[in-house]
Subunit: 416 residues, 2 copies
């Protein structure tokens, strides 16, 4: 039984060195937003930046802004700014396209590299519980290559060592599971993959800006991720791709659009790949959405990922403790690891009426989300979530459960 | 020798029924913008719309906006709104991803359909002068399929009939050439392709919103295009893909992301394609950029493409006449067809110092652009270009040429 009180939470907020960062965000009144793992909140700066891009760069400077406003350089410039959050180096990251498409690019390149090294490797190992689009893109790619590739889906991280065999070309994992918040040991699994001759591709959708990531220390091969979750880049904002310098010369994929060409404005009728991370680009990018990514990244430069991680663990520990203490007796089951080193920045509980309970929470201003099956998912973004928010959210959850104030016949909507 | 005067041009503007539409755009003072074929001008409504999406939909409604603000439905809703401009039907168009990526999708599907129908067809016919990214994407796709596909690049439209042989799988053309403004006869070439057993894929980047297009009347098979040129959707705004109802059941491509899944929120670990045009989607879309596309499309609903075409031809005729009359004696050569039915909404002239002359024009507020080799490109968007603008642009061009007021040593930048 926890002895924590709301006063204790308020005291934690007063002592929180990250507390001032909440002012960098525009958050609606009366809402406890625990869904920053799905769509990050809006940086205040994003409104002014959107107006500047639309009114001045587009409206007044028009076509000249491709050069004068640096529109062409945005993918690389944002990538360089994002790089420190994931242990990448300058010139190794671009912000571009969607996570699905970036995964397609790096997976295609990884398979091609393996095909040259050892053509017997025809298996991509991943988890059945991986975010589905990663699996779908791997299916699409391998079906079209039509060279005997197959996906091996494991049901638990424990099965990975046995699954990564001599036929494994690529180990493709999402670092933090979108449903459970389970965090893989990136360094250990990458080492295992390499020992068995496989390449390791990591999806950082629920990691970048949420947990410390050091791609170089882990010796990872490729990574992709999302900017609109913990990085607060805006709805559907372009994703990122990481190609370490050591793989850039060999990097190639079928989506060879003009932005990846060595000399795009030579307008030559034959493809010649550009140098470096430019190879991960394809076509023209959505500038307004892309530019707003910078507003989110700027905020991270006012703190450190270590400080964020410390607060994130404190928030998720507190949430787990409070729910288990104050909602005891209700059929809630924690599916997120208790071990800090296996936990992302979210907490998920199952409830037999998880969908209905979540709808009631949302109606009461506590915004988390629901994921099949029966999972209520709560994201804790240390940039703007307060300890008192955690207390208040649990108090409302307790009230809903105690009074059974949820409608189990509610029709289901869908959120990403 | 033309007898047209500036007064005549002002009279044409006074009599122009489309003149009020110019007020729908925010155009900079002191600029004659003849580059709407590269980046369309900003609809006034776009600034307010950007603020609404960023401040209210993202900032206040947060994750709920995927449903309440219709973010999920944007690709299809915008596609339906764009459809009348290209002779497409409701449920046949989505606005999504980039032109490069959409071309990859439709070309992949066209090749797969042909592979089932007649596997001996292994040639994609296109023009060497096609916009390079189309060629690059075709190269990327076919190289990775590694099944003996090859591109056949012709040097002139006249060579197309001979090139489309029994081995031709797909005729892939850009309807209006980005450099010269040459417009193909879509119906005749599609008929020819079909007679020879090929499918016809059309890139409408320089057609949509610029010239009348009737994909169904032409019996075209697939089409893609751009929203940030004549459609004024904003810098790098997502592109469109058209898949006619008759091909939707057979439509498939390797970029099978979760937005094309039959039940994306079932989160099932196996891909099952959705119905209809949804199949042309892939991953999550950049909502802010995407939403602004609607501001451009709305303006087209206040007129007709026939009225726009009539003014476009009047503008380009006037420009050709004035340049040839007033700049006679200078080494300018028209590369755009004089025949109205072979001309898009741009006029291109070569000049030995085309790059330098264009830089001088831009410095004087006449914004066109330059394309290798030696081509000065002038786009005429009838929504906001005035007849007097044409007069004034030619007057400035004449002055620059007469005085040789251009720097032939100028370093070259690049614009899209």
């Amino acid at each position: 039984m926890t002895t924590t009180t709301r006063e204790d939470c308020l005291a934690l907020d007063r002592a929180d060195p990250l507390a001032p960062l909440r002012d960098a965000f525009d958050l609606p009144q009366g809402v406890i937003y625990l869904d920053g793992n799905s769509l990050g909140a809006r940086p205040r700066a994003a409104l002014e930046r959107a107006a500047a891009v639309v009114a001045r760069e587009w409206g007044q400077d028009l076509i000249r802004s491709w050069n004068t406003a640096g529109w062409f350089d945005l993918p690389g410039r944002l990538g360089d700014r994002l790089a420190p959050l994931i242990g990448a180096r300058q010139g190794e990251v671009v912000v571009t396209d969607s996570t699905s498409l970036n995964l397609f690019k790096v997976l295609a390149s990884a398979l091609a590299m393996q095909e040259r090294a050892d053509p017997r490797r025809r298996v991509i190992v991943t988890e059945r519980s991986n975010f589905p689009t990663d699996i779908y893109m791997a299916e699409g790619l391998t079906a079209w290559l039509d060279r005997g590739y197959r996906l091996l889906l494991v049901d638990s991280p424990d099965e990975l060592p046995a699954a990564i065999g001599a036929d494994c070309a690529v180990l493709m994992l999402t670092h933090v599971n979108y449903r459970t918040g389970y965090m893989h040991d990136m360094a250990a699994l990458t080492r295992l993959a390499h020992e068995r001759g496989a390449l390791a591709v990591w999806d950082l959708a629920h990691s970048a800006g949420a947990v410390p990531v050091d791609l170089h220390a882990a010796n990872a091969d490729f990574a992709v991720g999302c900017t609109y979750k913990y990085l607060n880049g805006g709805p559907g904002a372009p994703a990122f791709a990481w190609v370490p310098q050591r793989h850039q010369a060999a990097f190639s994929h079928p989506l060879s659009g003009w932005w990846s060409h060595a000399s795009p404005f030579a307008m030559a009728p034959g493809f010649a790949p550009g140098e470096g991370i430019k190879r991960a680009l394809c076509g023209t990018q959505p500038v307004v959405s892309l530019a707003l990514v910078e507003c989110g990244l700027e905020i991270f430069e006012r703190t450190s990922i270590e400080a964020l991680r410390a607060k994130s663990l404190a928030l998720t520990d507190l949430f787990i403790d409070l729910v288990e203490a104050r909602c005891a007796g209700h059929p809630l089951e924690l599916v997120t690891p208790r071990a800090p080193d296996r936990r992302g920045s979210q907490v998920s509980f199952t409830h037999p009426h998880g969908y209905a309970v979540m709808q009631s929470l949302i109606a009461r201003g506590v915004i988390g989300d629901y994921r099949e099956p029966r999972i209520m998912r709560f994201g804790f973004t240390p940039l703007y979530t307060r300890f008192a928010d955690v207390w208040d959210a649990v108090a409302i959850l307790k009230d809903i459960l105690d009074r059974q104030a949820y409608d189990i016949t509610a029709a289901r909507g869908a959120v990403t």
